[in-house]
Symmetry: C2
Subunit: 353 residues, 2 copies
DNA sequence: CGCTGTTTGGCAATCGGTTGTCATTCTGAG
DNA sequence: CTCAGAATGACAACCGATTGCCAAACAGCG
């Protein structure tokens, strides 16, 4: 008579507000308001309802809540390649921030394909409240189409009128060039990443500015795929080149490049210095350990979600009142010096001149 | 007059079956059936409805569908640590399989905490159709509680009455031991991973069996954390030890261990051979490249989802008719020989005896 | 021509919350 | 004692699809 001798029904599914309402002798709407609109219900009544609900193990059904309100409590992060270690900490940071705010994070992998990305958006957009596009491979216009449907934040990229979170690539690049200059290098090559990459553009420009400013010979090769394989190809191309230092688009390429150099009998850093970007997992235990411009990966993910949450809050309370301050969050990068960079080798220097 | 001069309403949200029904001059139910129950609607009518729906840009609202049916088309995979490269390919494999079946994959990271895992389950269970627990940190009973609510598949672990997908650790370990034996090693140490780990138990047992069978001295040290830091500690402990070969619980530890050895002036593989488990990202470019028992990571994820999908299909069509064949999918592992293993060093061998 | 059987489409209930509106009760001031 | 106004809870209409049931239409058969 007391607890679970309910007899017939209610075997499978969990209790609803109707069950709780019946048990508490109130209307379902009151139960609903107890949870969703605190203060609207008399505190004694609310207390009683909460107690009974807890006893029955009531949990509000997210799907049922989402239907009338649109609040699914899910946000999505779309990454171009989950197997790229670049994203690990980003995802972790995003997840933590989302969880803390009561949101569930949906990670979608699109395997470097703009087409898959569009499909993933199609599938996830209707069920999320907002999205983070991490290193999107889509065009600005495609992004804007998505942003029209749900609040959107882009990561590692800037797109007009869409909030974004990026690393301070320019300053990082500048530091890297200075570091190499301090080591005596007078000729540096930038190994470019994928053509469409926003980050590649920024990095190259910063590289150009820094080298001209310091009166260093700055060259560019590429583009190459942003993978170890791409780095390997770059190593071949660079072998015939007279440069004593390279800065590569990212760590993955740098690692591949160093492996390529080893095969060709070129020693890092004695014959050539290598600098990467991002400080991904593995850049500390490759050989030699990689000097790299560290991106604040964890923060990148965290800020992206935070920005999105702010956007969501704004949207819900007055749609187009705010004049869109076009937020671009710029996070600092940091040069991590390890074993892959060293003073300019005299022998090679002679060959270079 | 033709396309979007609709005048007043319908600014914000997308069209519903009601809109389509009105435009086509049929009942909403007919529109619904057109999509969800092909054949139930006259093919001409269906064709017309489909055309009109396409013109209007109608897309069925997944939330609305989920409410009455419970079919959210989402499955979750819960991983103990997204930053562990072990999971990259697993997630990719899972995602691909899920997508192909029209499901969206929800990746939840629980940061190695059983508590966070329970919270993540709490949050995700009500909105997914099924879950994959990849390397769960929870107790069997907690897992069973979850499995009672939604179809569940466990990865890298076996739990009574719950379908599971695991690697053939035993055979892999046997191969590793034989490999070392062939190189002349007569004493091998197993560096254990976390105590609660199912895989650790299986690997240790297989190690024990293989060494006794080959009449090799098999020892065990640990447990250690399954990270690079754990491996580093292990290296210290092993330095005083007279062993010419170690097999570590996983690659991450093996990499950490090798770094520890280097610091102590112990050369790999000249002084000591190292074998890891899993073949994660980075095991090919650490120094020396790691010999490891490769787990079929991609397949692991793919099969887990496939098993789950099979379970879902079963559930929907006759709940408890099938007598539960208790499926355990066992995937083969493979020994990848690289530079971290070599013939037994005579000097060290003398010291060992 | 009448009867049965099969398509096919419509009606309406339902999933489980949310929320606008209204009625009731209670409080306190005049 | 009366009445305005606030506090509180109930009613009912949604959100958008699914689906059991029924009725109309139509075909086929004797």
């Amino acid at each position: 008579m007391s607890e679970d001798s309910d007899g017939n029904g209610a075997r499978r599914s969990s209790p609803t507000i109707y069950d709780v309402a019946a048990a508490a002798g109130v209307a379902p709407s009151t139960v609903s308001r107890t949870f969703s609109r605190p203060g609207r219900v008399n505190s004694e009544t609310a207390e009683r309802i909460r107690r009974i609900a807890a006893e029955m193990g009531y949990r509000t059904n997210p799907v049922a809540r989402a239907l009338p309100t649109g609040r699914t409590s899910i946000i999505a992060i779309i990454v171009s390649d989950v197997t790229n270690p670049f994203f690990f900490e980003i995802i972790r940071g995003a997840e933590e921030t989302a969880s803390a705010a009561g949101y569930t994070l949906l990670v979608a992998d699109v395997n470097e394909s703009a087409d898959a990305e569009r499909k993933a958006l199609d599938r996830t957009l209707p069920l999320v409240e907002g999205i983070v596009l991490a290193t999107s491979r889509m065009s600005d216009s495609s992004i804007r189409v998505a942003a029209k449907q749900r609040p959107t934040v882009v990561l590692n990229r800037t797109t007009t009128d869409i909030p974004s979170v990026v690393t301070d690539n320019a300053r990082g690049m500048k530091r890297a060039v200075h570091h190499l200059a301090d080591l005596g290098h007078t000729s540096i090559t930038y190994v470019a990443g994928p053509q469409g990459s926003w980050a590649d553009g920024v990095r190259w420009r910063a590289f150009y500015d820094a080298t001209t400013e310091l009166d260093i010979r700055g060259k560019r090769v590429g583009p190459f795929a942003p993978t170890q394989a791409g780095g390997l190809s770059a190593a071949h191309e660079l072998a015939k080149d007279a440069t004593s230092a390279v800065i590569s688009y990212n760590d993955l390429m740098a690692i591949g490049m160093m492996r390529g150099f080893v095969r060709q009998g070129i020693s890092v850093p004695d014959d050539i210095s290598v600098v990467g970007f991002d400080n991904i997992f593995g850049s500390d235990f490759c050989t030699p350990p990689l000097t790299t411009v560290a991106a604040p990966l964890h923060s990148l993910g965290a800020y992206a979600v935070q920005t999105l949450l702010a956007e969501l809050a704004k949207t819900s309370y007055d749609r187009q009142a705010a004049p869109k301050p076009l937020k671009v969050v710029l996070l600092p990068s940091q040069l991590v010096v390890r074993g892959s960079t060293g003073p300019r080798n005299a022998v090679l220097a002679k060959r270079a001149s």
